[in-house]
Symmetry: C2
Subunit: 262 residues, 2 copies
DNA sequence: CTTACCCACTCGTCTATACGAGTATGCGTG
DNA sequence: CACGCATACTCGTATAGACGAGTGGGTAAG
């Protein structure tokens, strides 16, 4: 009549030189991999693991902390430690900025989310004139000031992405782009209407652990990295007309690109 | 004559409801951000922090562990905890598979690394015939067996990437592709010589924390995610002729793509 | 001068204990 | 029946202590 742990977990190997907390983590990880615990399942409580393995609580906590760092588990204060559920991912296709996707009245994010059956939301919109950071400045050809458009994107109430667009101020001031809602097709449609025919985009992708501020705004579980994407839009004259700096919850995205073989 | 900590770190706020170990982590993080500790610098030892803040050692270790999870610090047994050095990143451009890059006698990795002044190395090459996993099988059009080419890439002795190419066995068996060294221009050059003219590549990019096995093969510090890239090569008939599954140390890479605005 | 060892210092692992704070459940009261 | 509180469970934070293991420097022996 072992309640939980004993049925699904084995014993420690005292002859092994592998640390006890690592052995416990190994067993839990294996149990998760093999499906003995499934997404969203509650793992045995710290107390149960203490009793099952005959170790102190800190050792058990060390093991659970390892699993959380690996992104396999999340703890919820007062409730328990759970196998981390894999949220549905949003697929970003490399043709998402093609002109044919700009003709609708809604934003690309909204259209796409509704097509996928999710409830899209945009949050914390903020439009400001700023002095650019050195990096943004360099990418935009060293304008003295820029227009910054910040916003957060949510799917079904969950924040998934935080983005800031920067445009040279001389180009954006007193245009629809400086309005909270730039209108159908977004700022790329407005840029083209204003005579800046777009030629191509450069995208740079990095992955790293989030800063504490990013953990807050994206409500990230520990063990979840962020994808940092910086996109620069160029017009047909070769001028950089916009830089979009995006930080995405890595467990919510898969980026897809198609490359010619030429 | 405060040796280290006192000069660079402040005091705790006992009225704050922020946990003590978080306050300590905040102070260290701020000191790192402001450059008071620089890349590779040694942070104050656990003992010094214990004395400076008047807390127990576990509290200090908790704070340092937070910084490591964030990727800001690395600890070295017997030596100390250091501000994590940012290694040079390798830039992967989206045109790296263009035919014009396939004419040299060396592999793309080697050419590019030497151009960047690094010493490239390829490791643990392994060529095997296998039954494909369900995912690989689906991408390749459900072949019964595949040829798998595994290898690890290193720059200046540091592992940065681990990749496996899968090809339908009927296509690769008894060809140069099944040899350890497929020859100049790599397997894409061989495929084209064999009449499979390449049309385009699909790339899927994810980021996540590494598995324990990936931590070992890439010698990853804690707090460093991996970029998981899956590339599928299609010939002009629309047939998937290769899938390349790559796991990269995220702190060693930035991926760059160029997208048309059409 | 070189080698070998010792020692001091570092972080790693583990125990035992205590209290605080969030959550859920059930029971008793109104 | 509904509400509120007590309670028992969860994880979070913090202390104090012990021993182990890796590193590096200095000292003593050869």
């Amino acid at each position: 009549m072992p309640p939980l742990a004993s049925g699904l977990l084995g014993a420690l190997d005292p002859t092994s030189d592998r640390a006890v907390f690592r052995q416990i983590a190994d067993q839990l990880r294996e149990a998760i991999d093999k499906g003995r615990f499934r997404e969203g399942d509650k793992l045995p409580s710290e107390t149960e693991l203490v009793e099952h393995f005959g170790v102190s609580r800190m050792t058990v906590r060390n093991a659970l902390s390892l699993l959380q760092q690996e992104g396999l588990a999340v703890s919820e204060h007062g409730k328990g430690v759970y196998v981390r559920p894999r949220p549905p991912v949003r697929r970003l296709a490399s043709d998402r900025f093609a002109r044919r996707h700009r003709d609708q009245g809604k934003s690309a994010f909204t259209v796409e989310a509704e097509a996928a059956g999710s409830r899209p939301e945009v949050d914390g919109l903020e439009v400001k004139e700023e002095r650019p950071s050195p990096d943004i400045s360099a990418r935009l050809g060293s304008p003295r000031k820029v227009l910054a458009r910040r916003r957060r994107y949510l799917l079904d109430g969950r924040p998934v992405e935080f983005a800031t667009s920067y445009l040279p101020l001389d180009l954006a001031r007193n245009t629809p782009i400086a309005q909270p809602n730039p209108g159908p097709g977004g700022i790329y449609a407005r840029l083209e209407e204003m005579g800046h025919r777009l030629d191509h985009f450069d995208e740079e992708i990095r992955a790293r652990m989030p800063t504490p501020a990013e953990v807050r705004t994206l409500r990230l579980a520990s063990g979840v990295p962020v994808i940092h994407l910086v996109r620069t839009a160029y017009d047909v004259d070769g001028r950089a007309v916009e830089v979009c700096d995006t930080v995405m919850a890595a467990d919510a995205y898969v980026l897809a690109y198609q490359l010619p073989a030429t």
